[in-house]
């Protein structure tokens, strides 16, 4: 069977990007880091090509890290292998709507 590959950019990252098609609940993916080390994950959710999964438990309000930097905060608790995208990740920048709530 063809191996499903996901890439982790830096060691600090808690998400990896899947470059494989037809990934659904229960699919197995191999996460490769930049040294070529491999770790297997079971996917939770239907994840399109080029989308992300969590590599560790991420609690609501915790930072999501890719490229070694924060790309947003979790809006729900996220389990390892779970699909991470706009449904459970919130941008923290350019948020005029937050200012309005605070003001």
């Amino acid at each position: 069977m063809k191996e499903n590959i996901a890439l982790k950019v830096t060691d600090k990252d808690n998400v990896a990007t899947i470059f494989a098609d037809d990934i659904t609940d229960g699919s197995r993916v191999t996460v490769l880091d930049k040294r070529g080390e491999r770790q297997e994950y079971t996917v939770k959710g239907t994840v399109p090509y080029g989308h992300k999964i969590a590599l560790a438990p991420i609690k609501k309000g915790e930072l999501i890290i890719k490229y070694g930097e924060e790309i947003g905060i979790a809006t729900h608790d996220i389990a390892p292998g779970e699909y991470v995208h706009v449904h459970n990740l919130d941008s923290m920048r350019g948020r005029g709507d937050w200012d309005k709530k605070e003001g």
Partner: protein
């Protein structure tokens, strides 16, 4: 290292030998288009500005059009003026003519209407095209290259493949003494600290923070959530979850060299070398115009979802990071960086392919969007309201 280019009277070097037809205001677009339809070797800049704008924006339009006229791929310039525009058309004419390149102007109201202006414009354009058509390329040092870079219709492959290829080429050109310009200030949001760290001094670092803050403030001032516009729906479908993620991937294309300074949107490069930032938005029509105004001979454009657009006088080389998109849109994509994602090639291998294509492009080989003239949607980025 050398390449064969067109040396202009002001010392700049072009990779193309075009006659640029510049409407000084949007109301002159149809005349410019009709002239270019008739006369080969001409390109129009069909923008939508130049009247009923606040004074700083009118200056911005005048200065951007001057820079476009001065850009070295334009061998000669024909300005099409309506006559009552807000753009400073006299300054536009004088400053372009001062570079020593043949410059002409046709005025629609003064000559007695559209059809007369088209007729006069065709005659002037024909004269200009014939005058420059015999110019020969000469060998010049590679340090005369000004490369613009951008990513558009990005997905998650952009930051991991095609932007890395552009970063490789950017580093190589800077090492050869050339100039590289990147922009898309919106896409510094979330990664500005990484760029500021690469600034040559504290002043440049502060300027980077300032332009990002100003861009974010413009978005926040509307009192809504920027996520409706950035990342774009296409970016989100491609797997980019936030502006921060898009920015961090976008920054990869700037390579690793020190950042020498920040250029304003209308500003042209004089003889600055190395890696520079230009304060531009991310949207294609406005950033491509801003980058062409810099005087870039060409642009390297990274895409994941498949953005086909080019620019009238600046060949745009499409480097596609997504192997699926490359397969579907090969006719619009110049290079396949998707082979990095599939593990078939390294960043360096595709980077060297890109560099070889760039050398051919500089000497006249066309890009795909250039060959089919997919480049009419351009515009000048203004800040204030239309009034």
């Amino acid at each position: 290292m050398e390449f064969m280019g067109y040396v202009r009277p002001d010392g700049k070097v072009g990779a193309r030998n075009l006659v640029a037809v510049i409407p000084s205001v949007t109301c002159a677009n149809d005349v410019a288009q009709a002239i270019c339809h008739q006369v080969q070797g001409t390109v129009p800049y069909l923008h939508h500005q130049g009247c009923c704008q606040m004074p700083p924006d009118l200056d911005r339009v005048t200065e951007t059009l001057i820079s476009l006229g001065k850009s070295p791929n334009a061998a000669a310039v024909l300005i099409v003026s309506l006559g009552c525009e807000g753009t400073d058309t006299e300054r536009l004419y004088q400053e372009i003519a001062a570079t020593g390149k043949p410059t002409e102007i046709v005025r629609i109201q003064e000559i007695g209407g559209v059809s007369k202006a088209i007729q006069r414009g065709i005659d002037l354009a024909r004269k200009l095209v014939i005058a420059v058509s015999g110019l020969q390329r000469q060998a010049v040092d590679i340090s005369k290259v000004v490369m613009a870079i951008k990513c558009g219709a990005s997905d998650t492959t952009s930051g991991m493949a095609s932007n890395c290829v552009i970063g490789y080429v950017a580093d190589k050109l800077v090492d050869l003494g050339a100039t590289v310009i990147f922009g898309e200030t919106t896409e510094f949001i979330g990664g500005e600290h990484l760029l500021a760290r690469r600034a040559v001094n504290g002043q440049v670092a502060q300027k980077i923070y300032d332009i990002v803050a100003a861009m974010e403030q413009r978005a926040k001032a509307i009192g809504c959530d920027m996520r409706r516009g950035q990342p774009t729906p296409g970016n989100i479908a491609g797997g980019l979850s936030s502006i921060e993620e898009k920015s961090l991937g976008a920054i990869m294309k700037s390579g690793t060299k020190p950042i020498q300074g920040v250029l304003d949107y209308p500003q042209a490069i004089t003889d600055q070398k190395g890696l520079w930032i230009k304060d531009t938005p991310g949207r294609e029509p406005e950033i491509l115009t801003g980058m062409a105004a810099t005087g870039a001979q060409f642009m390297c454009f990274s895409t994941g979802r498949g953005a086909p657009q080019g620019f009238p006088s600046m060949p745009v080389l499409k480097i596609c990071g997504n192997p699926h998109t490359y397969q579907r849109m090969e006719e619009d994509m110049d290079l396949n960086a998707g082979l990095i994602i599939t593990g078939e090639k390294t960043i360096e291998q595709v980077g060297e392919e890109a560099f070889a294509k760039i050398l051919r492009l500089l000497e006249g080989e066309m890009t795909k969007n250039e060959a089919i003239q997919y480049f009419s949607s351009i515009d000048i980025h203004c800040l204030g309201p239309v009034i």
